[in-house]
């Protein structure tokens, strides 16, 4: 970094320029598809056109015989059992004779060829005989006795159940002056990362397989590749390239196992790049939920009871569904204190897209329901929607429905007050119906709460190495910068602690041979967990440097510290969903949305948004704002326009033309408000923000639509059609 860029003395909380910005604005940043090697082959995968089928035979002979094709393989060529999976191994990258495919897009066979055209032609020469099986397309039907089994080695299609009981639910309802009930539904949605999945693998001089890929967790990739291919994890080196967005999509295996498999089988470098359609078909999505909420409150607006049913669609394979469902249970009452709660949650398999991690990880769906409930309660009680939330929002000392008593770092009320204050300055008042003639304008508000870190007893940890010389330092850490700016955060923390200019701290290439595992870039955990590792290592190095004094010889450098930071201990549920501490921290947010509804077409135009999020401490102010703005808009898409519909397990469209991600003309002016309520354990008080930014949006938009045209839409997306139907016009 040169002196072109502004020098900031106090780095923490600054607007330092992202350290990888220059390579990105010049086009020099290398994403996996940008890599080329001499003798490189092109890999492709044949995918199932059927939602559910048994493989009777796979004939690769014609494909193998095509000039330019170097390998054609299927699941029969993998070692047994050859499975992978984040929660447990239930998924094969390729199909076996006699095995099954369980969703449209499930991998069947793979080829490696000298040109992309030959690889494409080879796929068309693979002859597969499918026995089409009945499709399990509906979560309720999937649970009925005699339903076809998605996985035959199980007694039924229920992957996981969880229950929670807190307080006395009957007494809670008995003490309520008002009880409301509702059903809330959320759809399958796609991350729609700009960079389709891609990677390159080759066998190094030492005979190990080298994989260059965009991912969220290198160490976990290597573990799953090793397990599926039955090779030692040490035989796999993984290097992380620039990553074009993740949002949870790159948590699951995509190209990794196939690439290593092809590289090993052919002995040649192999590149595999998904097409956009392939990316939409094959990769994970957000869990659709069907939720039933029965809620009791006093006439003063105090919540007394919530009886909750959560039904989550796992799709064909487990992925992280066990943890997603647990997260949903942990956050089933959203940002509020409810003294009497019961939750029954189930995750059910269907022959649909695999659902996995997606920014929010099972918290978005219950939060939507809770916020709609709160808005309806305010309306029924004739109470200001802000005041109702004020009376119930979690604070320091609140007892959550899991039994945890919150000790500190709780920014709920602060986000609520910050959002409403800023909104007031802009003339935005939630729930004050503003329609004049043809223009139906509404303002809505909602809150949200998301946990930080893996939670529920997982040993959440990260390793970091800091190496320093008198005038520079290097941070080595296996944390993937997926675009959120984590590399810049490490540089800022190290530079600030070591009193170096930001430009003198570099982050080592994320190479599994060199850097320690830091866990995934997910769960809004990196700043907290890896940040603490980097901070502690930097402090140790600073101490060692001080001890060396000003006249240390060259041979004393670099001064090195390696730290593995373990986040504060958390505990799993007992059989009633109770635990002293499911998570070590939470982030809160509050959003106010102003929108206009066209009463003839149901079209919604979002006009202005205020989004206040409690981040503990902003290490990089610009990047925190960027998370708020980006997270809001992604959630606006979730709320209004995004939908990945299936008909009997078949996706109706798999292009970005059909999948309506918001464009610059759909985005409103977004006013981010950064709330800093220091966390007790986060580095310099910082915690996380990445997922929290999505949570309040659907509820705020739902409240605003009601404010504008007087209808409640309980299903996402809140499409023009649903709005017209609710208005009685359809």
């Amino acid at each position: 970094m040169s002196s072109e860029y502004p020098q900031v003395n106090d780095l923490i909380g600054s607007r330092s320029i992202r350290i990888d910005a220059r390579e990105k604005v010049t086009g020099q940043a290398q994403y996996p598809a940008d890599l080329f090697m001499p003798g490189m082959l092109y890999g492709r995968v044949l995918r199932s056109p059927h939602p559910h089928a048994r493989i009777l035979s796979i004939d690769l002979s014609e494909a193998r015989a095509l000039p330019g094709v170097v390998a054609a393989l299927c699941g029969d060529d993998l070692p047994e059992p050859g499975l992978y999976g984040l929660n447990f191994p239930d998924q094969s990258p390729l199909a076996r004779t006699g095995g099954k495919v369980r969703y449209v897009g499930d991998g069947v066979a793979t080829v490696a060829a000298q040109t992309p055209q030959a690889a494409e032609a080879a796929l068309n020469l693979i002859r597969v005989e499918y026995e089409v099986l009945p499709v399990v397309s509906d979560m309720r039907a999937a649970q009925s006795p005699g339903a076809p089994l998605v996985h035959e080695n199980r007694p039924d299609n229920i992957l996981h159940k969880a229950e929670l009981h807190h307080g006395d639910i009957q007494a809670g309802f008995a003490g309520a002056d008002l009880i409301i009930e509702g059903t809330y539904v959320t759809p399958l949605v796609d991350h729609a990362v700009l960079q389709p999945e891609a990677g390159l693998a080759y066998i190094g001089d030492d005979g190990r397989v080298n994989l260059w890929v965009a991912t969220q967790w290198a160490d976990e990739d290597r573990r799953q590749i090793a397990e599926a291919l039955d090779i030692p994890k040490e035989r796999i080196r993984e290097v992380i390239t620039a990553i074009g967005g993740a949002f949870g999509r790159r948590e699951d295996i995509s190209v990794q196992i196939i690439l290593c498999f092809l590289a090993i089988k052919t002995g040649r470098p192999v590149k595999f790049v998904y097409s956009r359609t392939e990316s939409m078909l094959a990769s994970t999505k957000r869990h659709p939920f069907e939720m039933r909420y029965r809620t009791g409150a006093t006439r003063e607006g105090k919540l007394t009871a919530m009886e909750i049913e959560l039904l989550a669609n796992v799709g064909a394979y487990a992925s992280t569904s066990l943890v997603v469902l647990n997260t949903a249970v942990t956050l089933a009452t959203g940002a509020y204190e409810v003294p009497n709660v019961s939750v029954e949650a189930k995750a059910v398999h269907t022959n649909a897209s695999v659902t996995g991690a997606f920014r929010g990880f099972g918290s978005n769906q219950p939060n939507f329901s809770v916020e709609m409930v709160m808005s309806k309660l305010a309306d029924a009680l004739g109470m200001d929607p802000v005041e109702l939330r004020r009376r119930n929002i979690l604070r320091t000392g609140s007892e959550m429905h899991t039994g945890e008593v919150l000790k500190g770092g709780v920014g709920g009320i602060q986000s609520l007050e910050a959002a409403t204050a800023r909104a007031e300055e802009l003339g935005l008042r939630p729930g004050r119906h503003r329609s004049s003639g043809r223009r139906r304008i509404g303002v809505g508000l909602a809150c949200g709460c998301k946990n930080i870190g893996y939670s529920l007893g997982w040993d959440d940890h990260a390793g970091a190495i800091v190496e320093a010389w008198p005038d520079r330092a290097v941070v080595k850490i296996g944390a993937c910068d997926v675009g959120q700016g984590s590399n810049t955060v490490w540089a800022q923390i190290a530079a600030s602690t070591l009193k170096l200019p930001l430009g003198s701290v570099s982050i080592a290439r994320n190479d599994s041979d060199v850097v320690p595992d830091a866990g995934s870039s997910s769960a809004s955990r990196q700043t907290f967990v890896s940040g603490n590792a980097v901070l502690q290592a930097s402090l140790e190095v600073a101490e060692k440097l001080r001890a060396l004094g000003p006249n240390a010889p060259d041979s004393a450098f670099p001064v090195i510290a390696e730290v593995t930071y373990h986040a504060p201990k958390t505990f799993p549920f007992d059989s009633n969903g109770q635990t002293a501490r499911p998570s070590f921290g939470y982030g809160f947010g509050c959003q106010v949305v102003e929108l206009e509804v066209d009463p003839d077409t149901g079209d919604v135009r979002v006009l202005r948004v205020v989004a206040a999020h409690d981040v503990g401490r902003a290490i990089n102010m610009t990047n925190v704002e960027g998370q708020i703005e980006g997270g809001y808009l992604m959630s606006q898409g979730y709320s209004l326009t995004e939908d990945y519909p299936l008909k009997d397990g078949r996706p109706r469209a798999t292009t970005l033309a059909a999948y309506m991600v918001p464009t610059a003309l759909d985005a409103p002016e977004i006013v981010p408000v950064v709330v800093e309520e220091p966390d007790l354990h986060g580095p310099l008080g910082a915690k996380g923000v990445g997922e929290m930014t999505m949570l309040p949006t659907p509820g705020a938009i739902g409240a605003a639509i009601h404010d504008a045209v007087g209808v409640w839409i309980d299903e996402l997306p809140m499409s023009p059609e649903r709005i017209l139907r609710a208005m009685g016009k359809l």
Partner: protein
Amino acid sequence: MTLHAISIKVNGQFRAATVTSQMTLLQFLREILRLTGVKDGCAEGDCGACTVIFNGRAVKSCLVLAAQADGAEVLTIEGLNGPDGELHPIQKAFMEMGAVQCGYCTPGMIMTAKALLDANPRPTRGEIRVAISGNLCRCTGYSKIVSAIELAALRIASLKAEDGSWEILGKGKCIHHE
């Protein structure tokens, strides 16, 4: 199946090749010229990551057949810096305003911004949004991208005002590509 001998001026240099009828300009730039700054996000015109400047206009290079581009002038992100690596005001503004997160939409956004500011040196925020409406971004919510383009417009205008001839005058100044 026909082959076509084409010659395209890319980033100021004539580049020649023989291509198939099906090859797109995007594939020509990335795979034959190895200009991997031009990104492939969908290859079917829905995301704008592949945007380049083609005969003075921003176009989605995945929607141009390479054979159609014979004789054309193309500017990619790689051609935007000055010869000594000096950044263009748009590139600087994107860096400073936090308009870059994952960076995948960035080259396409910058080229669209360049074409916009060449044609309309003082766009409103609304005009900027229209101009980039064909470039998807999933990370930023577009706010800081719009602000970066606004800032770049101001900077370019003031550089032009200071020095009508528009050359490198030292640190902080950038070359303007006509």
